[in-house]
């Protein structure tokens, strides 16, 4: 049973290996000439001004939140869809159950859309 997950483990290892390998390899193989100009941050030839970390707009956070909520919705939709065919034979109640859930969240989506959360000025 656990063995079924081995491919997933390999994918993880492959991904991590690729990322680390690509970075490490350039480090090892690539030529390095350390001058002041080379070490400064690349800003299309302009001298970098100010701190590199700027404060994010709160909109990013909101979009992230919206993403999670609808991500959750999808997670709930999946088991529902799996049993839908079997349960729907006993009547349409299963459809309404999910419809209620979706409508409640859809209303929330409508709210944030109309209130301009997605507008980027």
């Amino acid at each position: 049973m656990i063995g079924d997950y081995l491919p997933i483990l390999f994918v993880f290892l492959l991904a991590a290996g690729f990322a680390l390998g690509a970075l490490g390899l350039t480090h090892v193989v690539g030529p390095r000439i350390k001058t002041r100009v080379k070490l400064s941050a690349y800003e299309s030839g302009v001298d970098p001004v100010g701190p590199t970390h700027s404060r994010l707009n709160v909109r990013y956070f909101l979009i992230g939140l919206v993403f999670i909520i609808f991500d959750l919705e999808v997670v709930f939709l999946y088991p529902w869809a799996v049993i839908f065919r079997e349960q729907a034979a006993q009547g349409p109640f299963i459809l309404y159950e999910m419809l209620f859930f979706l409508v409640v969240l859809l209303v929330g989506y409508l709210y944030i859309w109309r209130k301009g959360v997605f507008e980027w000025e």
Binding site: E97, Y111, R114
Partner: protein, 495 residues
């Protein structure tokens, strides 16, 4: 009962859900200056909910496959929530503090909190317990921080979030321990598993209960889980402070009593009237200590306050302590006394807060000393305030007196915990000092004037209306006690 058949017993909550959805749509569609329409929608929705609650068949059932109880006990609390929410919503347009903020959302979150409260009062399932507490908490966080331009309001919201998250986490840990031992989230199945628990699990059970009490204690601001209360109550808009000090507290009691009595009771049947905790647990004395701490800390913080709002906020901690005092003895009489007191507390505390809002609107006063001569300027408001304060102290002939008598008589008739009753009486004496101080400033300080101040008739009317039960039930309390007695019927699973 199957899910589809349950809907017939779920109509009040369904109406609230429809109301929430329509309020969201209203705030999307209507311009922000159309507060009135949203206000009317909210009140209409509450009226529909009230009608549905009234015509609900008076049975005791569990619906949604054992997740919720529909019984007289939960219905009693639902009426309390309904009245509290209605009073706050009616008063809100007449609260200057809220001017300039988006009222659409304000009503929306109030209704959402109320939906959570309804579930709290009737939940029979540990997951619903958690979900309903979270709905109430998240709604309250937002309402506490509703005045976005006021740094105090922001601060109160943030502190509330941090304390709320911590106590939810602790409670969840306790619930997971409970689930680990019982293998079920249904309170009756939990109870059945706990009764037969071997002795070596008793310590774990006690730890689980203690952790769960953190979550409940946070909701009713039980010392030492009260640290959020002062800042939140101070920073939140006054209407919200009034609401938070009444409705979620009542729900916390409703939930805690039901879960303690059912999941942790030796029989799991609350109708028997006199029951003991499951073997290996003796939470009476633990609650007694919490009760004594809650009363004393609340009162001694209240006594130092100079702002009326803060004074009322702190004293609401003490009131939770009085009610906890009765919860030490787990019997029908104690439940009745707490429910009776909650109903009275609803009227007197809301009333006192409404007067504070009135004074703040009219004069912008906040400090007690500013209230000098208020008794002469606005007798129509000041006299009810005096009645509310007398009742909060527990002086006859007000309903607060009767409520306190019932609370104390629980301890006295049980013949245990004399020390706790003594602490309670001493605390009432302390509370007399600071409540009487407001009365003194209102009526004895300052010069009599001929100028009388009147407020908006709606506010005055609300205040006077809340005075009626406080006075009436102080003299003739049989109807209320009768209602409480007939509400002491719980859904219980036939074993």
């Amino acid at each position: 009962m199957s899910n589809f058949d349950s809907l017939a017993y779920f109509l009040p909550e369904l109406a609230l859900t429809v109301l929430i959805v329509s309020l969201v749509l209203a705030s999307v569609l209507l311009k922000s200056d159309r507060d009135r329409i949203v206000w009317i929608i909210s009140l209409a929705g509450l009226a529909v909910t009230a009608v549905l609650l009234a015509i609900q068949p008076a049975t005791d059932q569990s619906i949604f496959m054992g997740a919720l109880a529909v019984d007289p006990y939960s219905r009693f609390f639902k009426w309390i929530f309904l009245v509290a929410t209605a009073v706050i919503i009616i008063a809100s347009p007449y609260t200057k503090q809220l001017d300039g903020s988006q009222r659409h959302e304000y009503y929306l979150f109030l209704i959402a909190v109320m939906f959570g409260l309804f579930l709290m009062a009737s939940s029979l399932d540990l997951i619903i317990v958690y979900l309903s507490i979270e709905i109430v908490s998240i709604g309250s966080f937002i309402l506490a921080g509703f005045l976005k331009d006021d740094p105090r309001s922001n601060e109160s919201s943030l502190k509330y979030v941090i304390y709320g998250a911590l106590s939810s986490g602790v409670m969840l840990y306790g619930l997971s321990l409970l689930f680990g031992m019982a293998g079920s989230t249904n309170v009756f199945e939990v109870q059945a598993a706990l009764v037969v628990l071997p002795e070596k699990a008793h310590l774990t059970l006690a730890v689980a209960l203690l952790l769960i009490l953190v979550g409940f204690g946070y909701k009713i601001s039980m010392v030492p889980f009260h640290f959020w209360t002062p800042d939140v109550y101070e920073g939140a808009p006054t209407t919200i402070t009034a609401y938070l000090s009444v409705a979620p507290k009542a729900a916390g009691f409703a939930l805690a009593l039901r879960i303690l009595g059912t999941a942790f009771g030796s029989t799991g049947d609350l109708n028997i009237g006199d029951w003991s905790p499951v073997p290996g647990l003796a939470f009476g004395s633990v609650i007694a200590i919490f009760a004594a701490l809650t009363m004393t800390v609340g009162n001694f913080l209240a006594i130092q306050q100079n702002s009326v709002k803060r004074l009322l906020a702190y004293s609401s901690i003490a009131h939770a302590g009085y009610m906890l005092m009765a919860a030490v003895i787990l019997n029908g009489q104690a439940f009745g006394a707490i429910m009776f007191y909650l109903a009275i507390y609803l009227c007197m505390n809301l009333g006192a807060f409404l007067v504070t809002i009135f004074v703040h609107n009219r004069f912008g006063y906040d400090e007690i000393d500013d209230w000098k001569g208020f008794g002469f300027q606005a007798p129509l408001i000041a006299v009810p305030m005096g009645i509310f304060l007398f009742s909060l102290t527990g002086l006859p002939p007000t309903a607060g007196f009767i409520g306190k008598v019932y609370l104390f008589s629980v301890l006295i008739e049980a013949g245990q915990y004399w020390w706790l009753a003594l602490v309670g009486i001493l605390n009432s004496v302390v509370s007399l000092y600071y409540y009487a101080r407001i009365i003194k400033v209102m009526f004895l300080d300052g010069e009599p004037t001929d100028e009388t101040v009147t407020g908006h008739p709606v506010m005055t009317g609300l205040i006077l209306m809340l005075t009626v039960p406080v006075l009436l039930f102080g003299i003739y309390w049989t109807p209320l006690m009768g209602a409480v007695q007939s509400s002491l019927k719980f859904f219980t699973q036939g074993m």
